[in-house]
């Protein structure tokens, strides 16, 4: 299958629309959330229209069928990550829910006063706040790896921090959602394991764009979200090594995660159900599996290459615009994300103006306040690419940014006196 983004666009109904200003949509906000191909929407509709029932628990035809589809989605996810067993796949509400599960269950059981959780300064709040909460609860500390001038982190800095802090857990993102930097999941995991730390990889920005092999990474925990891989909202995946899931105490309590309940107490069942209390996101799991199959058909290597080409083009053009400061490393060290600021122009004004041109980008701190603090920025604008974006869209983006400069440049404007009122 040859990779043609123009052709792939046909799979995504939303890409045909125009925005408020009447311009055709150029959706460059994929790091916040991706769009869905019709096959994913259809898979969920099909479930609801043809075989939906609650899972696991019934023996009538519909329940058997939906249970089979739900469990097949687990197996699809297992294969997507190359996990050893489908029992290592826990469906959660999203990346955030997954990390919180690890913090509350594994964290409370394994981390104590004075222990250290090591993260990078480039983490999304989802991989910071749960550790702050753990610190509040058990008295551990959260230590942050700094980034260097070029927006990356040297292995030697990681090695030194592992040696100094002897962390219980090293939790890092495989791809920064602001800088786009790819951190080396496999080698950092190996380093961490050698120093005795467990490893959580936040793959929210990696899963959409690269082949993940959790056995090769060897990380203890890997999390990602459905809505960032062309799948539905309301679902995410927590991969954990089976030995962890078996040893960890249950997190949320309720139906589905128990073996027995009495008036005196309860016993938890086996993973993965142990961590799936309540009616799970059934249609969402089925939609997610369809999305993963779609990405595999298109080919994650193709996607990565394509995005990188777009990123290169955008990066180079942006650097030529006066007053633009591109954050993070050069394109060869990052995924399809370009964040930037413009001298004396607020990121939100950039995004707002781009919207008039049909170009959808994010602006703000992108849930990465500590990173923006060290970069000395309150906010940045971010364009993020995906399989359906085109060279033409990148060019429209660049053109609109050039307009921004002209529009907001100081022109010696004078405020007009207000009309005199008689009040």
């Amino acid at each position: 299958m040859t990779f043609d983004p123009h052709q792939l666009r046909d799979d995504f109904p939303i890409l045909r629309r125009t925005v408020a200003s009447g311009q055709p949509l150029a959706y460059l906000d994929n790091a916040a959330s991706t769009q869905r191909p019709q096959v994913v929407i259809d898979a969920m509709s099909d479930c609801y229209q043809n075989y939906y029932a609650n899972v696991h628990r019934g023996i009538h035809t519909l329940s058997e069928e939906s249970t089979a589809a739900y469990e097949a989605a687990r197996v699809t996810t297992q294969h997507f990550l190359n996990a050893r067993s489908s029992r290592e796949i826990v469906f959660t509400a999203g990346t955030t829910a997954g990390i919180n599960t690890v913090a509350r269950s594994w964290g409370h059981a394994n981390v104590g006063r004075g222990d250290v959780i090591l993260v990078t300064i480039a983490e999304h709040h989802a991989n910071i706040v749960p550790w702050h909460q753990l610190a509040e609860a058990v008295g551990c500390r959260v230590e942050f790896l700094p980034i260097n001038q070029s927006g990356t982190i040297d292995d030697s800095v990681v090695a030194q921090a592992l040696k100094t802090h002897r962390p219980k857990l090293f939790a890092f993102t495989a791809t920064s959602n602001v800088l786009g930097t790819n951190f080396p999941a496999q080698s950092w995991t190996e380093m961490a394991h050698r120093s005795g730390a467990a490893v959580l990889v936040d793959a929210a920005q990696a899963a959409p764009h690269e082949v993940i092999d959790v056995q090769q990474w060897d990380a203890d925990f890997v999390v990602f979200s459905g809505h960032k891989v062309c799948g539905p909202t309301g679902i995410g995946v927590l991969y954990a090594k089976l030995e962890h899931l078996e040893a960890m105490p249950a997190f949320l309590g309720g139906g589905g995660m128990i073996q027995t309940v009495t008036t005196e107490g309860f016993t938890a069942t086996e993973p993965p159900e142990k961590f799936e209390a309540g009616t799970p996101p059934i249609a969402e799991a089925i939609g997610l599996a369809e999305a993963l199959r779609y990405l595999q058909r298109v080919g994650l290597d193709n996607i990565r290459q394509h995005e990188n080409a777009l990123c290169q083009r955008a990066d180079q053009a942006l650097r030529q615009i006066e007053g633009v400061d591109v954050l993070g490393p050069m394109p060869d060290l990052k995924g399809g994300i370009v964040s930037f600021t413009m001298d004396r122009i607020h990121a939100h004004d950039i995004a707002q103006w781009l919207d008039t041109r049909g170009v959808a980008v994010r602006a703000g701190h992108h849930c990465a306040m500590p990173l923006h603090d060290v970069l000395g920025k309150t906010a940045s604008a971010r364009a993020s690419f995906y399989l359906y974006n085109t060279v033409e869209e990148v060019d429209r983006f660049i053109e609109a940014v050039q307009e921004v400069r002209k529009k907001f440049a100081s022109k010696g404007r004078r405020r007009r006196r207000p009309p005199v009122t008689n009040a």
């Binding site: 609650n54 696991h56 628990r57 019934g58 023996i59 035809t61 329940s63 058997e64 069928e65 249970t67 089979a68 469990e71 029992r87 078996e246 139906g255 589905g256 995660m257 128990i258 073996q259 027995t260 069942t269 086996e270 993973p271 993965p272 159900e273 009616t279």
Partner: protein, 152 residues
């Protein structure tokens, strides 16, 4: 999908109403019990092994749905006289075949309950600790399909 009408074929109901070796076994050497939280099925299996590792006698007791009880009867009838190694080699797939009617994944759990208990009973001598390798396997062997979670 299985046509469930066939599940309750006469052969199955015969075993349900007139089970093989249902009752206690006083001089058992090995025994274990298991539950299927899906149906609340319970099966106890008691074995008398001889010195050559052969099952001289096998009995079961239990409560539960037709499938769990009838399949237990079929299994017990089948394994009497077999060696421990032969029983260990007897796979989940063979158990489902022995039962006969095709079962949906949820009902397979009912059918495999006695098979699961038999496998762990082999590792559970009556006065003594469970074998090391049974412990390593988490007490009871695993099989495919959704795991044994509860229903609602």
């Amino acid at each position: 999908m299985a046509n469930e009408q066939d599940i309750y074929e006469e052969h199955v109901l015969d075993h349900y109403e007139d089970p093989f070796h249902r009752g206690p076994l006083d001089d058992a050497t090995h025994a274990d019990e298991g539950k299927n939280p899906l149906c609340g099925d319970v099966i106890q299996i008691a074995l008398k092994l001889d010195d050559e590792g052969r099952i001289r006698e096998a009995w079961f007791e239990g409560e539960g749905c037709v499938i769990s009880q009838a399949s237990a009867s079929m299994l017990i009838e089948k394994v009497e006289g077999k060696t421990v190694d032969e029983v260990k080699d007897f796979s989940a797939e063979e158990m489902l075949e022995l039962f006969g009617p095709k079962l949906t994944p949820n009902r397979q759990k009912c059918c495999l309950l006695s098979w699961r208990v038999l496998q762990s009973a082999l590792h559970s001598p009556i006065d003594g600790e469970a074998d090391a390798d049974a412990d390593a396997a988490g007490g009871s062997p695993r099989f495919g399909g959704p795991s044994l979670s509860e229903e609602s």
